[in-house]
Amino acid sequence: MFVVFGLLLLIPLAIGLQIVRVQILDGSRLRALWSAQALDVIPIPAQRGIILDSKGRELVGNTVTYTVAVDPHIPGVTREDLQLFTRELAAVSNRSASHYQQRIRSAAPTSRYIVLERNISEEAADQLRETGIRAVILEEQYRRRYNYESLASHVIGYVNHELNGMAGIESSYNEYLRGVDGQRQVRRDRSGRIRGYVGAPRRQPKQGHTVISTIDSQIQAIAEEELRKGVVRGMARRGSIILMDPRTGEIKALANYPSFDPNSPASSPSEDRRNTVISDIIEPGSTFKLITAVAALENGAVELDELFDTGDGRRLISGQLMRDHDPMGTVSFRQAIQKSSNIATSKVAERIPSESFYQYVRNFGFGSHTYVDLPGEEAGLLRKPYQWSAVTKPWMSIGYEVQVTIIQLAQAFAAFANGGVITRPYIVDRVLDEQGQTVHRNRPENVRRAIKPATIEQLGPVFESVVTDSGTASYARVEGFRIAGKTGTAQKYIDGRYQTQYLASFAGYFPAEDPQYVCLVLIDEPRLSYYGGFIAGPVFRNVALRLIGLDDGLQIIPDEEQVRGQWAIVPDLRGMHRDEANAVLSDYNIRHRYSGNGMYITAQQPAPGEQLMRSDLLQLSLSESISIDSSRISEHHASVPDVRGMSMRKASTWLRKSGFEVQMVGSGTVYTQFPEAGGQYRKGEVVTVRGRARDLPSILSQKGI
């Protein structure tokens, strides 16, 4: 018996030895195998940095959204569960339950991951989680939230699905914004599912840095609004605007119209997403005469009062015909700039040595990058003198045969405005880390001196005279306010010849005595007219006028008589009966047009207190009742009412009634508001209204003139 027991005892002994053998001889290799099959490292996504404007408003933030998927093969999940779930999902989304059921049915029968919906909000995801159905897979995703939708979209840019910047600041500051993903170890099972976390995160994620832009969203909103109105008024294809501080090179606003919503960039054509201001090269036309004038004066080639005969407005140069827009006869050089005479300018240019002229153009920054901190900048095209033909110099002097970007042109005007120094334009002020420490800062960078101060002293008044009744930019005038600038009307060169399509532009700065803003407006293919002054001038003027309301550093010295001629102040017609409005408008001598059906006026464009060119139409919307149409507005969102022209107290009451918080700056009459009227925003959003003591336009409208 003991024999049997002894023999059988060998088996457990062998087993024990085998365990020891496995553990000791091959233990480390087997444990490595275990790590390889059971352990995995997954990233803990870092939050992308936010982007603020210069006043600390959050332009871009992050939201968590969820992708909803189901695994119909999870044991214990019945068809009824799935049907119940699709109904729940339909309740929080805008698709029907049968749509989702169809998706589940049409998926591959073995599929264990059927995506039903993306971009579900956190609240909706919580609601879905409460159903407790195990088949549901909710996957967290950080998304970018562009708070003001299309506002400054070309500046901010957008991100791709991996949250990498594809354009704008998102792209050029991607490294700062991105952060560093953390790492966490997880344990997976045979089928790859995560069974649990292993220990604490191996590496904590480093959150992305905060980028503070030089853009002021309020100015940006004004620029965008006026640009849009300008493009619509000029019946143009598109338009661009840039506003810079000439003293530093900070870009205050930059916009292209049409723009796009960075929340869904793919829904706009790529053409609308391109930042025309830096990525398109154009022949600028007459605005380029600034460079010619500087080069001519500094070369001693011309005196301002020297007279030139422009004949009948036609001049043949080496077989190519150059025209003036109107025959001017004999004009001084001063008048040639004021009235934009091509012939006189080209005659002056011929006196400048080619090398010197080239050097001036070069010094102004043309033909090379401005190195603005935005992606996709073009350098333009400036040929060297030995490549020039006989017609190059005269044509270049009036802005042809040279290809530039809008930002280069703005940079040149900024140099003229700031006393002659080319500064590098920039759009990001500084980058802060999580603790608020500055990790990167852009400082004003003086590249080189391009103009002698004495030249500016001489030429400044000349360019100021452009913006007068006798100049080409009378439409850019703000009475009582000194603006200097130059109009441009360039024929577009497409398919090897100059077309009857134009680029109408105006570049200028204000106030002329102490320039604080440089603004360049370019309208592409206007059909209303092609004159830069008439098409781009009013945009510039409206921006300037509204900036005066915004920026206390700008002061207007009113002269009522002048204002009343060409411009009318729009009265407040909202809530009026149609007949009543007709009577008021005929008193004002304002032409108008109605849209919609009904007898009461619910909205007007331009807003009360704004100025309207007599030649333009006042747009009035009609409705049966006075209340604002609210069917489109969800309960959490509200449409920002137009409170401009109201007293601060009335504006604040109105805004609060609509569900917004109000931030009041100044007192008196509301001159400007941010966000702009008509935008849909979440209730509780802060609307900033700025009041000013009654100044010219409001006084005029109150008086009922």
Partner: protein, 391 residues
């Protein structure tokens, strides 16, 4: 007496008085304690390892462990009931249960439920039942009975060896049709009983030779069995099977990883990770899970419990049994429990080829639990009915 002659060979000290079982002699406490400890350990191990299986069965681990506990209680009840019945009654019954199990085995072969590539169980409504377990228990008891009955002429080939073989071989063949390893194990156990019962070594050796030939024939029949054997050879030599793409190689490797993970003291109760990778971790590979969670110490302790059962059964209870039948029955019943455990542990540690044998009292599974209870019940009965002089 015959009994005394037989017993005096092994149990020299004790004089026979042939007295029947006396009231008041307690059953073997060691045995019972070991079984209960194994059962409790089994509950823990099953709870830890069954979650994944529970998911595929549309239920929770808790529910399944509840069922497991119910089976444990049934098994304990059966154990108690059997221990009250005189083992002579059971031996008389065994012939009929053996014949009945043959019938079941034939039915299973034709209509049974397929599990992991082999048909072993019979579904009767909600219960699934493995007739091979019934056959195993019946045969062990019946062989013990036959050997004790033919003790006088046990070395006679035609009068005793052939008739006994006439019961063993059909049973093993029927089991072996679907479950080769169980059949082989049963054959070995029967031979040990015969060896203890002083059958001719020559006859046994001849049978082993025939058995080896038969095994070869069965191997040639099924590619799956062949791959198991070739894998096995690899695995014992290298520990690590290179071609673990094969199902059995993969299982062996995962079991090894589990053991290596366990180390000396294990990863802790319920912290097994290999349960997600091993197939049937609650059954065939439960020993690997124990080695992972409780380490070498725990694995050795579980093994020790079976060794104690083996010791109490073969050395103590058999020695004190009142007659030859008791001795042989004790040996058979002890083997029926411990050999399964050893083979299961041997498979989990990679010493033996991968087969699907349960670990008695630990593995999740009703039939095995029930018949292990019967075996222990018989053992307890034998321990109670020992000769009084041994108290």
């Amino acid at each position: 007496m015959l009994t005394n002659n037989f017993k005096s060979q092994y149990l020299i000290e004790q004089p026979a008085n042939g007295s029947s079982s006396a009231a008041g002699v307690p059953s073997d406490r060691w045995l019972l304690a070991c079984v209960i400890m194994l059962m409790m350990w089994g509950v823990l191990a099953v709870y830890s390892s069954i979650a994944y299986f529970a998911e595929t069965k549309l239920t929770t681990a808790g529910t399944l462990v509840g069922e497991h506990a119910v089976k444990l209680v049934i098994s304990l009840l059966v154990m108690v009931i059997v221990s009250k019945i005189d083992y002579k009654t059971i031996t008389r019954l065994s012939r009929y249960t053996l014949l009945l199990s043959w019938l079941f085995l034939i039915i299973v072969t034709l209509y049974g439920t397929e599990v992991f590539g082999a048909r072993r169980s019979l579904s009767l409504g909600a219960f699934s039942f493995q007739p091979s377990s019934l056959a195993t228990v019946s045969l062990l008891v019946y062989v013990a009975f036959l050997v004790s009955k033919k003790q006088d002429y046990i070395r006679d080939f035609s009068r005793s060896f052939l008739p006994i073989l006439g019961w063993i071989l059909p049973t093993c063949a029927l089991i072996g049709l679907e479950d080769f390893s169980s059949a082989a194990l049963l054959l070995v156990m029967c031979l040990i009983i015969m060896f203890v019962g002083r059958a001719s070594l020559l006859h046994i050796a001849a049978l082993v030779l025939v058995g080896a030939i038969g095994a070869g024939a069965l191997l040639a029949q099924s590619a799956e069995r062949q791959s198991r054997v070739t894998n096995y050879v690899h695995q014992v030599i290298h520990i690590e099977s290179e071609d673990f793409q094969l199902a059995s190689g993969y299982q062996a490797q995962q079991a090894h990883i589990a053991i290596a993970q366990g180390g000396f003291f294990g990863v802790g109760i319920g912290k097994s990770t290999q349960r997600d990778f091993l197939p049937a971790p609650y059954n065939d590979f439960i020993y690997a899970i124990i080695a992972e969670e409780y380490g070498l110490v725990g694995a050795a302790f579980v093994l020790m419990l079976y060794v104690v059962i083996l010791f109490r059964g073969i050395v103590v209870i058999a020695k004190r049994a009142r007659d030859t039948l008791g001795v042989l029955l004790a040996v058979g019943c002890t083997l029926g429990v411990t050999m399964f455990a050893f083979v299961n542990a041997g498979v989990a540690t990679g010493l033996l080829p991968v087969t699907g044998l349960p670990m008695p009292f630990i593995s999740y599974g009703g039939t095995s639990m029930l018949f292990s209870g019967v075996l222990i019940g018989i053992l307890l009965q034998i321990s109670k009915s020992r000769e009084e002089s041994y108290a």
